[in-house]
C-alpha cells in the first residue's frame, strides 16, 4: 500500500520509465555494457562517471554567498543607517561647497555609520555561515564505501564513485549504495523504511514479481539498508536519478516561510523604525518651522535616527540565539537554522514518530505467561536483572526453549559491553529473546554449547514455527530435547499437554481458555506474542545415533508440551513519559504518527501518556456503553486513533474536526505522505507545528512544518537536509528540553530588547531638547554609537544567560498573534518610564558639569546659535568670563562624556531590573547569573577606557571626566531600581488588575 503511494507521489511529478526489472541478466549485461563476472573496466567506469557525475544527491541549491551577504547589508535597521549616512554625505557636500570651516565632521559621521552597517552585516553573515557550516560538516561525517567488481577484481570504492553498470555486492548491515537490480540473492532482506515508512524488513530476490519497478522484489533502492543476507546486483541508477533522488528533489518544492522569531523581529524593526522616522520627520518639520536652516535640520534628523536605532541589537539577538543553539546542541538538539531555536519554543503541536523517537527502537521482552499467570519483564534501557518470579520449574523449561530455539548470536568481542548494548546478528525478535535470556541466565552461548544442536528447522512463513533438537547437558538423561517456538495458536495446535508448576497436565478446554485469555490480553497490549513448547524424545525410539532429517521430519511435531508465552514490544524510552507529561503541562499537544499497527500504536501511546489513562477513544466508549460506534457522541471522546486508511477517505473538514475535537490523537498505519496532510491540518488550526522524521519521504513534511526535526541516528540525509533541527540522540525527550530552551530565549530576548530600547530615549531626548531649548548639544552622534555598539553589547548578551523566572513549562505556548516579542507594554515601559527617568538623570549630570564650569542652567537656554558660532570667541558665561569657540567645544565634549557616563551608570540599573519581568530581583537572586556581572564590569570598564584612555583623541569627542561626575546619576539609578521593584510588587500583588495589564511586558 505504502509503496503504491510512493509510486503515485513520484509519478505525478516525474514518470519512472524503467523496465530494468523485467530484463533478464543477459539483456542487462548488454544494456549496460557490463559483465556480471568481471564488472566494468576502470576506463569505461571513468567515462560513465564523467558523463553521469558522481553518485550522490545534489544538495539543495544554496543561495549564492554574495546574495546572503548583501541581504545582511540592507536588512533590518541597515536601511535607516544608510539613509543617515547618505544625509551626512549630502550635508558634507553642501558644507564643503559653501566652504564652511569643519565640514569633515559630517563626512566622518557618514563613514562611521556606513562602517557600522557593514561591520554588523559582516558579523551577522559570519554567524549565519558558522551555523550552516556545522550542518555541512555533519552530513559529511560518514563517507560510504561500496564493494564493487571492476576489472574482474573486487574493490572497495567510495560509494559516490559508482556508475551505472557496476556490479556491487551487499551484505547485511550495508546501506544500498545506488538503485540496484538484483541478480543474485541469499536470504536478503531490506529495510525500506526510509523510503516508505514500512518498518518491517522486506525480502528481496532476483525474481520479477511486479510490473511496477517500485513494487518488484528484484530492485533494491539507494539509501535503504540491507538488514540480513547477501546480494549482488547491477547499478541501474545513480545520484539524483535514483528514486530517492527524485523524491528528495520534490522536497525542495515545498515552500519555506518565515520563522516566528523572524516575524517578531520584523515587527520590532518596523516598530522602532516607525518611531524613528515619525519622530525624525516631526522634528524636521518643527526645526524648519523654528527657522533652523534646512541643512541643520537634516543633521538633526541624522542624530534622531541614530539615537533611535538600536544598532547593536540585531547582532545581540543573533549572538543570543547562537548561544542557545550551542546549549541545545549540548542537549542533543542540533539547530541548523538559528531562528528555529525560538520556533521550537513557540511550538504548540509536536507530531512525533513512534519508532526510535518515542520508543527504544528494539524489540524487548515485555511479558511472560506461564503457570497460568502473566509476569511483567523489565523493559528499561539498561536492564541487568529481571525481577519476576523465577522459582517455578516451568520457567526453567521455558528459559531453556528461549535459549536453545534461537539462531541469533552476539558478535564476538563484546564481552565487556552491557548486554543491552551488544550487537547481535539476527532478526529483531530473536535478538530480544537472546538478550532477555542473557540477562536472566548468563552466558547463553555456553548453555548452547553444552546443549548441542543436532537438527534445526528455521522459521518460515508457511510453518510459522521454528524448531530445533538438542542433546541435553544432563549427563544422566540421554533423551533429546525438541524445542519449538512460533505463532501461539500454531504452537498450541501441536500440543496436547501444558506445563503447570513444572508438571505436565493435559490440555483441556479450561486450560485452552486460559491460554486464549492471556494471548488476547498480551496481543491487546500491542505486543508481538510467541508461543513456546518442548518435548523430551523417548530414549528408546530416538537413541544417540538417531539420524534426524529435517526434510522428512522423522520426529514428532505434535502432541508436544506447551510451556508458555513471551510477548515482545519495542518499549518506550524511559525518559519519554516524563517528557510527554511536561508537554502536556506546557500546553503542547503531542500527536503520534506511525506506520505501525493501531493496537501497537495505541498501546505505546498509552504507556507514554500521549493517550492518558482516563481518556477514551470512540471505540472504547462504544465498548464500555455497549452501543455501536456510530451512536457514540464523538465529541465526548478525548482520544482518537486514526487509521491511515480512514485518513485517506477523510475530507479536509473531517480532518480538521478530528484535530480540533480530540486532544489526544494517534495516527497509525500512515504513510509519510499523510504526514504532510496532518501537518497542514495542524497548521490550519493556527498551531506552530514541530514534526519529527527520518525517512526520505518525510522531507516534504519536515519542510512544511514550522520546525522540522530530523533524527540524527536513524535519519536519512534527505531528512536532515530538509529539517531545521537534528536530534542527535533520536530521543523525544530532547525535543522537550529544546522547547524549554526555546521558550527561555524568547523571554530573555524580551529582556534584552527592553534593556536596549530604554537608553534610546536617553539618547533621543538630548536632540529634542537641543532643538527646542537651543542648549549646547548634550550628546554626540558618535558617542551614541559608542553606547549602542560598545558599552551595551555584552550586558545585553548576558541577559541571554538569565534563568527562567518561573516554570516556563507550566504555561501555554505563546499565541503567535497576541504574545508579541515586543508589545505595547514593553515599548511604553522602556521608552516612557525608564527611558525618561534615565534622561532626567543624564540631564542632571549634564547641567552639573556645565554649572561647575561656569554655565548655570538658565544661561544655557537659547544659546545654541552663538554657542556654535565659530566667529564668537568671547562667549560670556554666567560669571562674566569669556570663552573661545574651542574652549566651549571642549566643554561640550565633556558634557557628552558626562551624559555618556550617566547613561552607562543608569544602564547598569536597567540591566539589573531587566533580569526579571515579574519576580523581585531578590527572588531571582543577584548572583545566580554570573554573566550579568561580566556585563556590568565590561560596561563600566569600556566606559573608563573611553573616558580616560581615549579621552585625548579629539575625533571621538570624549574627554577625561572628573571622577565625581560618575556618581551624579547614581541616585537616579537607584530610583530606577526601586521604581521597577514597586512595579513588580504590584504586578505580583494584583494580578489581572489595571496595573498588571499596563505594566507587565
Amino acid at each position: 500500500i505504502q509503496l503504491l503511494e510512493v509510486t503515485q507521489h513520484v509519478e505525478t511529478h516525474k514518470h519512472i520509465k524503467s523496465d530494468d526489472h523485467k530484463l533478464s541478466t543477459e539483456e542487462l549485461e548488454e544494456k549496460y555494457g557490463t559483465s556480471i563476472s568481471k564488472g566494468l573496466s576502470s576506463a569505461r567506469a571513468a567515462e560513465i562517471l564523467a558523463r553521469d557525475g558522481p553518485n550522490s544527491l545534489t544538495p539543495p541549491k544554496a543561495t549564492p554567498e554574495i546574495v546572503k551577504f548583501l541581504k545582511q547589508m540592507v536588512g533590518g535597521f541597515s536601511i535607516l543607517l544608510w539613509i543617515g549616512a547618505a544625509f551626512s554625505w549630502i550635508s558634507f557636500g553642501i558644507q564643503f561647497a559653501q566652504g564652511a570651516e569643519s565640514p569633515f565632521d559630517n563626512l566622518y559621521l557618514g563613514v562611521v555609520l556606513a562602517l557600522v552597517v557593514i561591520l554588523t552585516g559582516i558579523f551577522a553573515y559570519y554567524q549565519e555561515a558558522k551555523s550552516t557550516n556545522i550542518m555541512a560538516s555533519f552530513s559529511k561525517m560518514i563517507p560510504q564505501q561500496a564493494l564493487v567488481i571492476r576489472d574482474a577484481e573486487k574493490k572497495e570504492l567510495p560509494a559516490d564513485q559508482l556508475v551505472v553498470g557496476d556490479i556491487v555486492e551487499i551484505k547485511g548491515g550495508d546501506r544500498i549504495p545506488a538503485d540496484i537490480r538484483l541478480i543474485f540473492t541469499q536470504g536478503c532482506k531490506v529495510d525500506n523504511s526510509s523510503l516508505t515508512g514500512e518498518s518491517e524488513p522486506q525480502s528481496r530476490s532476483c525474481d520479477f514479481t511486479h510490473e511496477n519497478p517500485l513494487e518488484t522484489r528484484n530492485i533494491a533502492f539507494y539509501s535503504t539498508t540491507c538488514v540480513e543476507g547477501t546480494a549482488t546486483g547491477i547499478v541501474i541508477n545513480t545520484g539524483d536519478r535514483t528514486i530517492i533522488g527524485r523524491i528528495a528533489s520534490l522536497a525542495s518544492g515545498v515552500g519555506n516561510g518565515k520563522t516566528p522569531i523572524a516575524i517578531e523581529i520584523e515587527h520590532f524593526v518596523y516598530l522602532v523604525a516607525g518611531v524613528a522616522i515619525s519622530i525624525g520627520v516631526l522634528f524636521f518639520i518643527i526645526s524648519v518651522s523654528m527657522r533652523y536652516k534646512i541643512l541643520d535640520s537634516i543633521i538633526f534628523l541624522i542624530g534622531i535616527i541614530v539615537a533611535n536605532v538600536p544598532e547593536g541589537l540585531l547582532a545581540t539577538v543573533t549572538v543570543s540565539l547562537s548561544l542557545t543553539a550551542k546549549r541545545m546542541a549540548k542537549k542533543n538538539c542540533l539547530v541548523k537554522n538559528l531562528e528555529a531555536v525560538e520556533t521550537l519554543g513557540s511550538t504548540s503541536i509536536i507530531c512525533s514518530d513512534k519508532t526510535g523517537t518515542l520508543t527504544q527502537n528494539r524489540m524487548t521482552v515485555a511479558h511472560l505467561w506461564f503457570d497460568d499467570q502473566i509476569y511483567s519483564a523489565d523493559t528499561s534501557e539498561d536492564q541487568t536483572t529481571q525481577p519476576f518470579d523465577q522459582s517455578s520449574q516451568t520457567w526453567t523449561a521455558l528459559s531453556k526453549i528461549v535459549t536453545l530455539c534461537n539462531r541469533a548470536e552476539f558478535r564476538p568481542g563484546q564481552e565487556n559491553l552491557p548486554v543491552m548494548k551488544r550487537v547481535v546478528v539476527g532478526d529483531a525478535s530473536e535478538t530480544a529473546l537472546l538478550k532477555f535470556a542473557e540477562v536472566v541466565l548468563g552466558d547463553v552461548m555456553d548453555i548452547r554449547a553444552r546443549n548441542k544442536k543436532v537438527a534445526e528447522i528455521p522459521f518460515n512463513s508457511t510453518n510459522k514455527f521454528q524448531l530445533s533438537i538438542h542433546e541435553t547437558d544432563d549427563r544422566n538423561d540421554k533423551r533429546f530435547l525438541l524445542v519449538m517456538k512460533g505463532a501461539p495458536e500454531r504452537i498450541l495446535e501441536r500440543c496436547s499437554t501444558i506445563m503447570i508448576n513444572g508438571k505436565e497436565e493435559p490440555l483441556d478446554s479450561e486450560k485452552a481458555e486460559a491460554f486464549q485469555t492471556a494471548y488476547m490480553e498480551l496481543g491487546g497490549m500491542g505486543e508481538r506474542v510467541l508461543g513456546f513448547c518442548h518435548l523430551y524424545l523417548p530414549e528408546n525410539e530416538f537413541p544417540d545415533t538417531y539420524p534426524f532429517d529435517t526434510d522428512s521430519m522423522n520426529f514428532p511435531t505434535s502432541n508436544l508440551c506447551f510451556v508458555g508465552l513471551l510477548s515482545m514490544i519495542d518499549p518506550p524510552r524511559s525518559t519519554v513519559p516524563d517528557a510527554v507529561s511536561k508537554c502536556r503541562s506546557a500546553g503542547i499537544k503531542v500527536i503520534m504518527v506511525t506506520g505501525d499497527h493501531p493496537i501497537t500504536a495505541k498501546a505505546i501511546a498509552k504507556s507514554v501518556g500521549i493517550i492518558s489513562a482516563t481518556s477514551e477513544t470512540v471505540e472504547d466508549m462504544a465498548k464500555r456503553l455497549n452501543v455501536p460506534v456510530e451512536r457514540v457522541d464523538r465529541r465526548q471522546a478525548t482520544a482518537a486513533v486514526v487509521n491511515g486508511m480512514e485518513l485517506k477517505d477523510m475530507s479536509l473538514q473531517q480532518l480538521d474536526e478530528v484535530l480540533c475535537n480530540h486532544s489526544e490523537i494517534v495516527f497509525a498505519r500512515t504513510s509519510p505522505q499523510q504526514k504532510l496532510i496532518i501537518v497542514e491540518g495542524c497548521q490550519r488550526q493556527g498551531a506552530v507545528v514541530a514534526v519529527t522524521g527520518d525517512g526520505v519521504n518525510d522531507s516534504p513534511a519536515l519542510k512544511k512544518a514550522d520546525i522540522g526535526i530530523a533524527m540524527g541516528i536513524a535519519g536519512s540525509d534527505a531528512a536532515k537536509n530538509a529539517a531545521d533541527m537534528v536530534l542527535l540522540d533520536d530521543n523525544f525527550a530532547s525535543i522537550v528540553t529544546g522547547v524549554e530552551e526555546g521558550r527561555l530565549i524568547f523571554d530573555n530576548l524580551k529582556k534584552t530588547i527592553a534593556y536596549t530600547l530604554t537608553k534610546n530615549i536617553a539618547e533621543l531626548c538630548p536632540f529634542l531638547i537641543y532643538i527646542i531649548a537651543s542648549i549646547p548639544m548634550p550628546i554626540g552622534t558618535i558617542t551614541i554609537l559608542f553606547i549602542d555598539l560598545g558599552t551595551d553589547i555584552i550586558p545585553s548578551v548576558a541577559l541571554a544567560y538569565e534563568k527562567a523566572e518561573s516554570d516556563i513549562m507550566n504555561r501555554r505556548p505563546r499565541n503567535k498573534s497576541k504574545d508579541r516579542l515586543v508589545n505595547e507594554q514593553l515599548a511604553v515601559y522602556s521608552y516612557l518610564h525608564i527611558g525618561i527617568m534615565q534622561s532626567v538623570g543624564a540631564f542632571v549630570t549634564y547641567f552639573t558639569v556645565y554649572a561647575e564650569q561656569g554655565f548655570l542652567p538658565t544661561t544655557l537656554l537659547g544659546v545654541r546659535v552663538n554657542w556654535e558660532s565659530n566667529a564668537i570667541n568671547d562667549f560670556e558665561d554666567s560669571y562674566g568670563q569669556e570663552w573661545t569657540k574651542y574652549q566651549r567645544t571642549y566643554l561640550q565634549w565633556t558634557g557628552y562624556t558626562a551624559f555618556f557616563v550617566s547613561i552607562t551608570i543608569q544602564q547598569v540599573a536597567d540591566l539589573i531590573i531587566r533580569k526579571t519581568r515579574r519576580n523581585s530581583i531578590f527572588q531571582q537572586g543577584l548572583f545566580r547569573n554570573k554573566v550579568i556581572w561580566v556585563g556590568i564590569f565590561s560596561q563600566i570598564g569600556i566606559a573608563l577606557i573611553l573616558t580616560y584612555g581615549l579621552g585625548h583623541v579629539t575625533a571621538l569627542n570624549f574627554t577625561p571626566l572628573r571622577f565625581q561626575y560618575w556618581f551624579v546619576a547614581v541616585p537616579f539609578a537607584i530610583l530606577i531600581w526601586v521604581y521597577d521593584e514597586v512595579r513588580k510588587l504590584f504586578i505580583r500583588r494584583y494580578p489581572g488588575s489595571w496595573w498588571d495589564k499596563n505594566m507587565y511586558y
Binding site: G257, A851, A871, I872, Y879, Q881, T884, K885, Y886
Partner: protein, 291 residues
C-alpha cells in the same frame, strides 16, 4: 514553514480601524475604556509630575551648591582668548572705502562698543588706579565685597577712539581702518607674571608683511596695563572695564585679502595651541576695496 499572510480586504481593514477608534460594544476609545484612559492619564500626570519635581529639586540643590561668585572649575580658561571689534558674523573686516554703506555698520559697532569707555562714564563709576601693577582687592572680613574697577581712558586709543568728527571716525572713510583688540575676561587671572604685557599684530605669513603695510598701535606699543587685572567676576566687579588695544592699518594694499594675527605678549602665556586658534591670539581677515 510556509504560512501565507491572511489577506484582508480594504473594507475589513477600515472596519477594524473604525472599531479601534470607537468600539461601541466594549465602549472603548482607541483600545481603552474611559476609566482606563482616566487612570492612564492620571498615572502619567503623577509620574511625570514627580519626575519634573525631582528634576526641579535637583536643579535647586545644584544651584545651592554652586558658588555664585566664582565658578568651581576654571581649568578650561587657563589661556584667555582674544577677540576683535567690530565683531560681525565672520571674523572679517572688509569694506569699500568709497561706499560708506559698506563700513558704516563697523563704525556704529565700534561706537556702541566704546560707549562705556566714555570719560564721563569712567570718571563717574571707576577709580583711578596705580598703573603698572595688579589692582588686587582682597576680601578682608566680609566675603565677596563689591570691587572697584579701574578707569580706562578712551582717549588713549588716539585716532581709534572715535572721538573726532563723525565722518572720520576710526579711519574707515580714509581707508585706514581701526580694529580694536581685547583679551577675554577670566576671573582671578593675573597675566604676565607682574611684567608688563602688550599686544602685537602682524601679517599671518611674514612675506605678506610688506603688503599689509604699517600699523599703529594704541595705547602705544599695544600695552595693556596690569592694573586692569585681576577680574573678580560680574557679580562683585560690576563696572569692570575691559582694557582695549587698537590697531590701525595705515596703508594696507587695497583690493586684496590680508590675514592678520594679533597675539598677547605676556610672560607665562602660551599662545600656540594647535586646536584653539583663539587662545591668547586672534586672527582675522582685512580687505580694503578701492574703486
Amino acid at each position: 514553514m510556509a504560512r501565507d499572510k491572511q489577506k484582508r480586504s480594504c473594507g475589513q481593514v477600515l472596519a477594524e480601524w473604525r472599531a479601534f477608534v470607537w468600539d461601541p460594544r466594549s465602549r472603548q476609545v482607541l483600545g481603552r475604556t474611559a476609566t482606563s484612559w482616566g487612570l492612564i492619564l492620571l498615572f502619567y500626570l503623577l509620574f511625570y509630575g514627580f519626575l519634573a519635581g525631582l528634576f526641579a529639586l535637583t536643579m535647586w540643590v545644584l544651584l545651592q551648591t554652586v558658588d555664585p561668585h566664582v565658578p568651581k572649575y576654571q581649568d578650561r580658561l587657563a589661556t584667555p582668548g582674544m577677540m576683535i571689534r567690530p565683531r560681525t558674523e565672520t571674523l572679517d573686516v572688509a569694506f569699500n572705502v568709497s561706499a560708506a554703506e559698506t563700513w558704516q555698520h563697523y563704525v556704529r559697532l565700534l561706537h556702541d562698543f566704546l560707549e562705556p569707555y566714555n570719560d564721563s562714564v569712567q570718571a563717574a563709576r571707576n577709580a583711578a588706579c596705580r598703573p603698572g601693577r595688579y589692582h588686587e582687592q582682597p576680601d578682608e572680613a566680609v566675603p565677596n565685597v563689591p570691587k572697584r574697577a579701574c578707569r580706562f581712558a578712551r582717549s588713549a586709543l588716539g585716532p581709534c577712539a572715535g572721538l573726532g568728527p563723525p565722518g572720520t571716525a576710526f579711519g574707515y572713510a580714509a581707508g585706514r581702518p581701526c580694529v580694536l583688540l581685547k583679551v577675554n575676561r577670566v576671573i582671578n587671572y593675573f597675566p604676565g607674571e607682574n611684567k608688563s604685557i602688550n599686544v602685537v599684530c602682524a601679517a599671518k605669513r611674514e612675506e605678506d608683511a610688506a603688503r599689509l603695510g604699517e600699523m599703529a598701535m594704541f595705547p602705544p606699543n599695544g600695552t595693556i596695563d596690569l592694573m586692569y587685572f585681576p577680574y573678580y567676576g560680574k557679580r562683585v566687579h560690576v563696572n569692570y572695564t575691559q582694557p582695549v588695544v587698537a590697531v590701525q592699518f595705515l596703508n594696507a594694499t587695497a583690493n586684496e585679502d590680508h590675514h592678520v594675527e594679533c597675539r598677547l605678549n605676556a610672560a607665562g602665556l602660551r599662545a600656540d595651541d594647535e586646536r584653539d586658534k583663539f587662545a591668547g591670539r586672534v586672527a582675522f581677515r582685512l580687505r580694503i576695496n578701492r574703486d
